[in-house]
Every structure is written in structure tokens, then in C-alpha cells.
Subunit: 224 residues, 2 copies
Amino acid sequence: MTALEKYFPFWKQLSDSQQQRLSQAAVERRAAKGTLLHNGTAGCEGLLIVQSGRLRAFLFSDEGREITLYRLFERDICLFSASCMIRSIQFDISVEAEEDTVFYQISAQIYAQLMKESAAVANYTNELTAARFSDVMWLLDQVLYKRLDSRLAAFLLEENHLNNGEGKLTLTHEEIARHLGSAREVITRMLKYFQAEGLVTLSRGTVLISDIKGLAALAEDSLK
Amino acid sequence: MTALEKYFPFWKQLSDSQQQRLSQAAVERRAAKGTLLHNGTAGCEGLLIVQSGRLRAFLFSDEGREITLYRLFERDICLFSASCMIRSIQFDISVEAEEDTVFYQISAQIYAQLMKESAAVANYTNELTAARFSDVMWLLDQVLYKRLDSRLAAFLLEENHLNNGEGKLTLTHEEIARHLGSAREVITRMLKYFQAEGLVTLSRGTVLISDIKGLAALAEDSLK
């Protein structure tokens, strides 16, 4: 299964035996949209490499609220579903398939052994950790310093981009609130304000983008 | 300088030459309380190993607000002052000496070379990244899901603990606001509420803790 070669930049630095072990550790799997692949405290499912589709990593509060941390697209590698490999990871992230997704699942035990043997594997893994760390630092900055109207505008634009720019988003207010770590009532009020400003048109379960430029200007805006 | 041995658990896995290079790359330095040691975008000062004193890592918003991310104590290693070593670190953290601090400063170039050569060094560095990532995830959870009164109570208890539990904190409302990523007026209002509840006694530039148990109960409390 040399298909793995294109996902791991360190591939050529591995010995034949290491390449073989990594290949044997990988299983191709499919998950339907909405499937929960990793659930915080529970389990260590291994590394997930997205072949097609989309994964969403999110944080779950004790009180059942959530916030989207980042998305993983084709060729991205989900490390935190294998968080048992790294002792100092002291947090729980949940991962779900946001679209129908095809992925490789790689045993955490075998990958951890390769990390021990190969500095190239270990350094690449560190880059993965740092990349997700960067995503979360961006989010922290947003949450701390951006107004909710800016964050909502940025979110709608991002969703539109993920949907090929069709301008029509099939999302309930509840779902949007979950992505942004907010409450449904707060999002509903803000969306109605957006509608009054001519930025969006609302109907049951959909948000139609009416003014992309206006949303973009608002997304740029930050707190005083 | 085998003094480094006690800071790096991978020491014995290094060759003599690697140990020598690491030792030669380390310089002992001192910084007075308040010294800015690393300033976001600027520079790559190298790894900082705290021998005594205390470092504070914080995030600076475009608008000049800050929030404390984590503290580094004796034996802790500051990685992000050497963030040029890890390509995927796409965020800016500032680091200051929060007390008079003695530390080793280790060249990022030499440490990065050792990471390339040694899986043990690379994996240890990954643990450092993951430990700080965990600190930030905890903070994100606090900011998202804890009320400010809980966070302020937890902060006052933590400060008291750092000051040997004397119960008297020399901190302005402005400083507290900076630690918590809030505004001075908001903190002043909350402290006055705490005072009315008999939790603290305020005077110019100091907060006297009057009811540790009450603060602890409040710190435990989380948003609905």
C-alpha cells in the first residue's frame, strides 16, 4: 500500500521494514456524515488520514455546549484520535465526520513505535501538533478579541466557501451556535440583525447570503 | 556543564558529541522582573530553561489587550521563544520574567539540529508542545464556558498560592484585567462585588483575601 507515501513526507527516510509496518498498520475505512469517530476521553483510535470528505474536531463542555476547533480536509492527518501516544496531551477533543468520509486509520501503537525509532517521524508529528496548536490559538484570539458579529460573518463566509460558494447554507441556528460555542437565541438575534442589514436572507433551516462584501467587511472588523 | 542533565530527560540517550554541543549551546542568563524576553513575531531567542524565578507567557491582541496563557517555573522549558524551529507554529506568544529569573538560553539552531538527529530529542520536544497545548486548551475552555466571577476567583487563589498563601496580593485592577484578558472597569466592578460578598478586602493596589473557602467554591462554579 504505497498509497501512504503521498501522505507522509518522511516516507523515504524510513527503512523497508518501517515502511512495511506502517503500511500494515493502516486500514481503509468509511464513515457516513455525522459519525462520531473520536469522543474525548474514550479510546485511542489511532491516526486518521483523510482521503476524501471532511472531519470536524470540536470541544465539548461539561454542560454540553460545543465549539468547532478546526476542520480536516483531504490529506490532513488527525493526530488527537491517537492522543494516547503523547503523554502530555491533557485535553479531550471530539472528532466527527462532517461529510461522508474515506480515511486510513493507523494503529497508535505502531505509529508510536515508529516515532521512537525515527527522528523524522517524531519531528513530523511535532509539526502536526504545532499546526493544530496554531488553529486553536487563532480560535482563542477570535473568542477573546473578536465580536460575535465578526465571528458569525467569518463563519458564514467559510461555510459558503466549503459549499463551493453557492451562497445557500443549509444550517439551523442551533448548528451555527454549536460551531461558534454560543447559544441558539444569541445566534438567532444576530442573524435577524444581519437580515435587517441586508447581509443574509433567512428561511427555515437555511441562510442565504445576500451581500458577500458586506459580510467580508464585518468579518475583518475586530473589537475596539 | 552537566547541569543540563537534570533538565533534559533524554540526556543519556545523546552521544558524547551531542551532549557537548548541547552544553556549549547553553548560556546562563539573568532577567530582572518585568523584562520582556520574547516578543511575538520578533526574533528566535532559543529555548529558555528556568533555573529559578518565573516566566509568564501571554497573548497580545492587535488592540493591545493581553491574556496570560501559562506560567513557567523552575525546571520548565520555554519552547516558543524558539518557535522558528517548528515551521507550523503560526502564532505569536510573548514571554516576560514575572520575577527576577535565572535561566539557561539554548541556541535554537543547535537544538533544532539535535531534534533532526535524535528521535529522543524530537519526541521530548513534542511532549513540551503538547503540554503547552494542553494549558491553552484549558484556558480556551475557561474563556468559553466559565463565568468571569469564577475565573477571577480562580485567578486570585492561584496568585495567593504563588505568593506562599500570604493572603495579600499586590496587584492593580489593570494587572488583573491583563491576566484575564478582560477590561479594568469590568474587573473593578467584579472585585467590588466580591468585597460586598465578604470574599476580599480592597485597598489601593492590593487585594486582601478574606474568605478562601468562598473563593474556592466560586472558582469551582461553571456556567449553566
